[in-house]
Amino acid sequence: MKALTANRLLDGEVVFWNAGDWKTRFGEAQLFEGEEAAQAAVAEANQPTVIVEPYLIDVAAEEGGFAPVAFRERIRALGPQNHPQHGKQAEGGHDIEVIQHAHGVARSAGRHNLIKLKK
């Protein structure tokens, strides 16, 4: 399963695509079963004055819901671990708790074509 994510241009906020709209909570992300539907969303979501660098992430079923597979993407969906009062995790809620309790980590599958080099 995949979801489409990006950062909002204006403030850098992490956002998730859902049927024509960008949502700020992972729990509101549209989940794509097949590659075709995911790619169609990528094409539709190309809104360069709204978001920056959209990309697909892997999502897996977890107890009580869904969570990004990659640890990196979980941190994006939650916020930094050193400041639990910062980021989306501060709002709490079921979708946040599912990610916080998710098992298994596979960061390298998180973001495709990511060049990890400082610029």
């Binding site: 204006l10 403030d11 850098g12 990196r72 930094p80 050193n82 910062h86 390298s108 400082k118």
Partner: protein, 552 residues
């Protein structure tokens, strides 16, 4: 401190206005992200995991109270009430909105600050000794030369598009607090036998994926020739540094491939070609810059403060603070006071807006208006009267800033890591927190003595792991966070790159492994040996046996 003249002011104002225009054009869609990205990076603005990050230059680590208060105000108004001091003496804000950036840059310009030279393939903000102008060790004030290099390098037309970023450190003391040998160029001021001042010039040091301790390419460069010689080095690098492979683009690769001798020969040949008088600073201009760093208004005091001695005798916590955070000053009756941003359990290098205000007030009231930032992510009050140390300590304590752990096991350098950084493979901050909490007991930390732990969340090495006495590198191993430990690194005058201890450890084993390494040290150490000295004598074996015997 250096104060902007009309040219500096106009230049920063122009750049700020220019960037405001660029932001407006990006938001309106007139320019694309691909076009905008290099422009925002030239203004210190990165896009990270949760928001934009703005890295503000703190020139060679010097701040005035007015500037620090403005940083606090920016933290409060535009961020979540805190800032993060970096391993290059800068400060970065992690929750910045693109739309707010022009206003922030305006507010920085009001206090003679900016975010230029904190990103991009240019000459970056200069690193210098945080004890400059205060320590008796130095042969000259390295801030004078740092400021000269700052003025020369700011939007230098020839060196704004180098093969890769370029970092320079300047120190004037034999005890190196700048990691000079790990910079693209390290400059160490020394006095020759004939009394003349010169720079030992080190080139091609660096960390990242290919760490090198830089070789010396010139033993004694007369100070007056600094700029023309730097220009010669930069020219050779600009001409021959690799642009085809980003992993091999830093000057360290060029120096290593040519060999230090051949590189030095090419630099000298280039230097001969340069019209040196047209590049080097005229004495009058040097005198003008030097004037900004005149000795501050010290008063005559006895070398020993009875009040301070009595206060220490009455308060063991103050005595501990004095042992670890208070250092000798060149002026009798004064001290250099380090402020640790490493309270166990907190984020290394973070300061809240309230804490910044407290330090600004202390700087104003007790440190002749000066505050410094160290590359080890701490702050310094460079000119405190011994008579005032107890009052400073009390104020710091009330603000949660009196941790007495400078250079101890809990004074850990850590990059922001995967909690913030788009480049990271693994978290660094939570690892630092685990370790610091394990050694939170001050008696234990003091018993262990100097031990520098440095943690990076990826191979780019912002956390300086290569040169930690214990270095910790977060790696992504088949999709999981693992941490590779190195031992025996040093960023000081005895610079060395650490050696890998063994296979990587999972996150929850790292603090235990550090504990085991410390146990080996305490068992093996001989009189007066630091952790690093014991390691150098015994080698890896006893340490390796302890950690991996347990790990299996």
């Amino acid at each position: 401190m250096y104060r902007y003249d009309a040219i500096d002011k106009a230049f920063v104002a122009d750049r700020t206005a220019e960037f405001a225009g660029q932001v407006a054009r990006r938001l309106s869609g007139e320019i694309t992200e691909d076009q905008f990205k290099p422009l925002r990076l030239m203004n210190g603005l990165y896009l990270q995991l949760h928001a934009y990050m703005l890295r503000v230059a703190v020139p060679y680590g010097t701040l005035s109270p007015v500037q620090l208060r403005q940083l606090a105000s920016i933290a409060r108004t535009y961020d979540k009430g805190y800032g993060h001091f970096t391993t290059r003496q800068n400060i970065q804000f992690h929750w910045i909105k693109l739309a707010d950036t022009p206003a922030i840059l305006n507010e920085l310009a009001e206090v003679e600050m900016h975010a230029l030279q904190t990103s991009g393939n240019c000459i970056r903000n200069i690193t210098s000794d945080p004890r400059a102008g205060a320590t008796a060790e130095e042969v000259d004030d390295p801030r004078v030369w740092s400021e000269v290099i700052r003025q020369w390098s700011a939007i230098h037309p020839e060196f704004s598009f180098l093969p890769r970023k370029f970092k320079i450190a300047v120190t004037a003391a034999p005890k190196d607090r700048t990691a000079a040998k790990l910079h693209d160029i390290g400059l160490i001021l020394r006095r020759a036998r004939d009394g003349s001042l010169g720079f030992e010039v080190i080139a091609g040091g660096g960390m990242g994926r290919t760490p090198y301790v830089g070789p010396t390419i010139r033993q004694h460069l007369p100070v007056g020739s600094l700029l023309s010689y730097l220009e010669a080095i930069l020219r050779v690098y600009n001409r021959h540094g690799r642009r085809d492979n980003i992993y091999k683009a830093r000057i360290k690769i060029l120096v290593a491939q040519l060999g230090a001798e051949e590189f030095a020969r090419q630099v000298e040949a280039e230097w001969e070609q340069i019209d040196q008088p047209s590049v080097d600073l005229p004495d009058t201009e040097l005198a003008r810059v030097r004037g900004f760093f005149d000795t501050p208004a010290f008063v005559s005091l006895p070398p020993k403060s009875e009040a301070f001695e009595a206060a220490k005798a009455a308060d063991p916590a103050l005595a501990r603070f004095a042992r670890n955070n208070v250092h000798p000053h060149k002026q009798p009756g004064y001290a250099i006071v380090d402020i640790s941003l490493k309270a166990p359990g907190e984020t290394p290098g973070d300061a809240t807006a309230e804490q910044m205000d407290v330090v600004a007030d202390l700087g104003e009231r007790y440190s002749l208006g000066e505050i410094r930032v160290t590359h080890e992510q701490n702050l310094v009050l460079p000119h405190v009267r011994l008579d005032d140390v107890a009052a400073v300590f009390a104020a710091l304590k009330a603000a949660g800033l009196a941790t007495a752990n400078i250079n101890l096991v809990s004074d850990i350098i850590a990059c922001p890591g995967l909690d913030y950084c788009a480049l990271a493979n693994a978290r660094a901050i939570p690892i630092a927190q685990d370790i610091a909490l394990k050694f939170a007991e001050p008696e234990k930390a003091e018993l262990i003595g100097e031990l520098k732990i440095k943690i990076s969340g990826c191979i780019n090495a912002c956390g300086h792991h290569h040169v930690g006495h214990i270095g910790i590198l977060g790696v992504d191993k088949k999709g999981e966070e693992f941490y590779q430990l190195t031992l025996g690194g040093s960023a000081a005058e005895d610079a060395e790159v650490g050696k890998i201890l063994g296979p990587g450890l999972p996150a929850n084993k790292v603090a235990d492994a550090v504990d085991q390494l410390v146990d080996v040290y305490l068992r093996e150490r001989k009189d007066g040996e630091r952790f690093l000295d014991t390691y150098r004598r015994t080698g890896l074996t006893p340490f390796k046996e302890a950690v991996y015997a347990e790990a299996h």
